[in-house]
Symmetry: C2
Subunit: 334 residues, 2 copies
């Protein structure tokens, strides 16, 4: 019998389609290949060392000019524009605003043929500390309401350049989806006097059924009502509403959590395409008692279709408990 | 300068990415082919005439057994199960329910190598009248809260069988996305004393900038804040909350609207993959003053990525006004 599960944080009902469920191994694609056949440096790649002049003016760099470790540059085709003020227009029922904001690219590593799953913890700390610094700096801009850090890995995840990179988008509006989730978090806080995210992390850590990674400061698990196979959440155990609240010590631990989860996906499922994003509270809301930042990973191993578009609900063909057990069993080569 | 647009019905902010915008013609794929090379009947296809025994027990049929026009059968791998009652379980913070409901397949035509865009208006009336009948019948089941009718056309839209078909899913819960949209519609009604959907249709018909089809009973347009290129809405002009309120006369007109829009997409963009869905009010809510049913079509000409997953917002690389002008200019061969 298929089962409906409620994600009490997102309020999504997810259908766990047991009738068409697959074993975790069935999501391993033989078509997906390792990154090894690719060159370490590609003369035509705008993100490779030596081609720095092909990107727009650097916002941030770790390391020396000729020996950088991470670079942040404006997106060449930005969805949001740094210049100007937020100006609204209204015409009948229609509302618009000029798309003021930031749209940056984080070039994660000089090497062309690597990916986060294969990096050292220290290299991932570099990337995450750059995220934190740009988050903190951009947050000061009063025109900004929300900052989303995200990564598109692989073609089906929407990437256009293969060189390892992620992106930051800072929007001048609060996405409606955030509004709904915050309202629910506030409702929980009013009723129970606590953070619903903290409670979920605590219960997942107690049960251990869906945990993939656990350390002093972080916990990674496949949510009880995961939207899709291997959909994973990484939570800081200390309550904080916004990613830039992370401390240096926590950053080390976060890098290990990210590395472990991505490496298990990489080796267990043969380098699947995926998206990840870091979700924080809107920038003007401060560090509240009710909202908790986290990182969400969505491996692109299935397709969304008309049911999802028509209802906002999801059908998941993999049981979270089985997927988590599978990932826990993956050995990460030294 | 990119522009943010608010969809006042869904409350989504959409980024119209003018910096990376494409001309409508750029979405025409040369890889996509017509359906002609496919056989009219395929011996291995469970939906082709002669293979009726390969499907589960028919729920509804138009025409005689050996000469049917449309058939409805249960999905062989149902995400929802007809038997049983809605039984809730709670364990700590986790909530589940057995997935009681209906999951049916509408086999739209006996011919293997056709598609809605190429059918006669009369044949589409058959399909839509079957939708209406199953909607009305299933709505009577008190375990059901919402009925979603949808179609996955093409591989990237998530279809697994090429024979023309659509699906109906009846869920024992109200999707959270519906809750949010209904709350907004109620808020508009309280403030203005009318239906926000009716107002949008009226304003689009006045402006004519984004209209693709217009008749006595229906209007089709690309929404001002369309989520993706060629995202199209078809609305009944008469206010009604639920698809099964449609009259026989309106059904004729709806078939013409659906045919015209899909034929323009088919001929203009070379048979793009797409999803459509019919959105109605939850079944227990009745025919309210504030909610209006409609059909939404999403051609799969772009990919969603980390930004969309991380924010719930969308980046659209095509201007709705240009896409609508392009579709209006497409000639549908006789």
């Amino acid at each position: 019998m298929p089962e409906l599960r409620l994600n009490v944080i997102t309020r999504d009902w997810v259908i766990m389609a047991t009738e068409r469920a697959k074993r975790p191994e069935e999501f391993v694609s033989l078509e997906r290949t390792s990154l090894l056949p690719r060159l370490a440096y590609e003369s035509g790649c705008p993100f490779c060392p030596g081609n720095e002049s092909q990107t727009l003016k650097e916002c941030l760099r770790l390391g020396d000019t000729g020996k950088w470790r991470v670079r942040v540059v404006p997106n060449k085709f930005p969805a949001l524009n740094e210049e100007g003020q937020r100006i609204r227009t209204a015409r009948g029922i229609f509302r618009s605003m000029n798309a003021v904001g930031f749209h940056e690219v984080i070039i994660e590593h000089p090497r062309h043929n690597t990916t986060t799953a294969l990096l050292d913890q220290r290299e991932i700390v570099d990337i995450l500390s750059v995220y934190r610094q740009r988050y903190s700096e951009i947050k000061e801009d009063q025109r900004i309401e929300a900052i989303i850090i995200y990564k598109n890995h692989g073609e089906s995840a929407g990437t256009s350049l293969v060189h390892p990179h992620s992106q930051l988008a800072a929007t001048p509006v609060v996405p409606f989806q955030f509004r709904g989730r915050i309202a629910e978090a506030v409702r929980y806080f009013d009723e129970h006097g606590g953070c619903i995210f903290c409670r979920m992390v605590r219960e997942e850590l107690d049960l251990k059924e869906r945990i993939i990674f656990e350390s002093d400061h972080f916990a990674a698990f496949i949510p009880y009502a995961a939207l899709s196979p291997f959909h994973t959440w990484i939570f800081p155990r200390r309550h904080a509403s916004s990613f830039d609240e992370i401390t240096d010590v926590e950053l080390q631990d976060f890098a290990l959590a990210v590395k472990t989860v991505l490496a298990r996906l990489y080796h267990g499922l043969h380098n699947p395409d995926y998206n990840y994003s870091i979700r924080s509270i809107p920038t003007h809301d401060g560090n509240t008692d009710y909202f908790h930042w986290y990182l969400t990973i969505i491996p692109r191993v299935t397709k969304t279709a008309g049911f999802e578009y028509g209802s906002g609900m999801f059908i998941n063909t993999a049981l979270p408990e089985e997927s988590a057990a599978f990932l826990r069993s993956v050995t990460i080569p030294e």
